[in-house]
Symmetry: C2
Subunit: 207 residues, 2 copies
DNA sequence: CGAATACAAGACTCTTGCGTCTCGTAACTC
DNA sequence: GAGTTACGAGACGCAAGAGTCTTGTATTCG
């Protein structure tokens, strides 16, 4: 079973033929279901989410959900996938410190102001027990890391970066404290924090 | 309701009188129940834990559990509390870098080799939804931070630390990447990582 | 011994939630 | 209009799990 089998659509014709007979699926319901599932994940976690609850929240009947997803787990995975779907463009501000700060700000915005950030705590718990979800999530993390690698490449080319830099560690030194405050300590993610963090990473890694 | 009401003991006499009549509670069962609960938390998470499961794992009957804890939630909280109970002694190796490395090694050991580390992912999810548990956990985090503060005080006294250091951020720059790898990215927590991390923090904050 | 309590085993009630199904209605194609 | 599918509403069966209770036995005190 693939992690996210597109959607349980039997009707999303592989052949984009003329059209399926009968009343078409409501795309409004499609969106409402996923949005409601994300809301439920944020509020109640992976285990706390109920299909009845999602149906009520979305204003649809359970049958409408089960017509799209064969089981609760498929629904949950589709919602989680939707959250973490978009990967931002690599930033190039022209300097190492500028790139670091822009990256840090993006990360803070991610964990603070997006559904992905709000379900992150539940995702952390879930990937510690679900190998399939863990692999999918690690793939996603890997993609994000590639962006940071580009920052390091550019900084090296500019001669701004220490030659002995372990780029993996540098990325973690920047991202780790942001996730740590968001997930664990609950410390503020304000401008003061961001400035001190970016300063520290710059001092640690700039030539 | 206190976070952890000692234990649901009606018999743990406030007056340390002569002795309660009848057969005393089995301390073997006490320990087995908590250990089984911790195992269950690691394996199944806060929601996945079942009282029947803990009873089976501990080799006791459900009545024996309910005689000690009035409800499942009290059992779970007692188990969680047990995990994160011990706070290590502040380290003084004589140098900032030494203190940082010792602290980092303790943290890696904590997240890698202790029940506390293994239930951490579930704890992260739970504190995002349970205010009571969140407060208790933040208290614990606060206590740990005090230790790191001492490290900074000593380093300042030695003249090793930059005067403009934000100690809170410094602590997060050290601890954040360790938790990040443990909880999120799954990256290795080996000697190479530790060395590079401690080097980076030292470069960022030492004079 | 008798009283009191703990214990294992397990039956029991009650609630919750998954997944299925039916019914009457709505939307779309031919 | 006929046929087909989606929809909301909700009933339904089923399983899992919380918490209670019973029964027979074990342990401790006086």
């Amino acid at each position: 079973m693939a992690v996210v089998p597109a959607e349980g659509d039997d009707r999303a014709a592989p052949c984009a033929g003329p059209r399926a007979p009968g009343r078409p699926r409501s795309s409004v319901a499609d969106a409402a279901i996923v949005a409601a599932a994300i809301d439920s994940l944020e509020a109640d976690g992976f285990d706390g989410l109920t299909v009845d609850g999602v149906a009520a929240r979305a204003g649809v009947s359970k049958a409408t959900i089960y017509r799209r997803y064969p089981s609760k787990i498929e629904l949950v995975l589709a919602a989680a996938q939707q959250c973490i779907g978009d990967i931002p463009i690599p930033l190039d501000t022209g300097s190492l410190r500028g790139d670091l700060e822009a990256t840090a700000r993006k990360l803070v915005a991610l964990v603070s102001d997006t559904p992905a950030g709000r379900i992150m705590p539940m995702l952390v718990a879930e990937i510690s027990r679900n190998a399939e979800l863990r692999d999918a999530f690690r793939d996603y993390i890997g993609c994000r890391r590639m962006i940071s690698m580009e920052i390091a490449q550019r900084a090296l080319a500019r001669g701004e970066l220490r030659a002995d830099t372990d780029v993996d560690v540098m990325v973690d030194v920047l991202a780790g404290p942001i996730f740590y405050r968001s997930l664990v300590s609950g410390g503020p993610l304000d401008d003061n924090f961001l400035t001190h963090l970016v300063d520290a990473v710059t001092r640690a890694y700039a030539i």
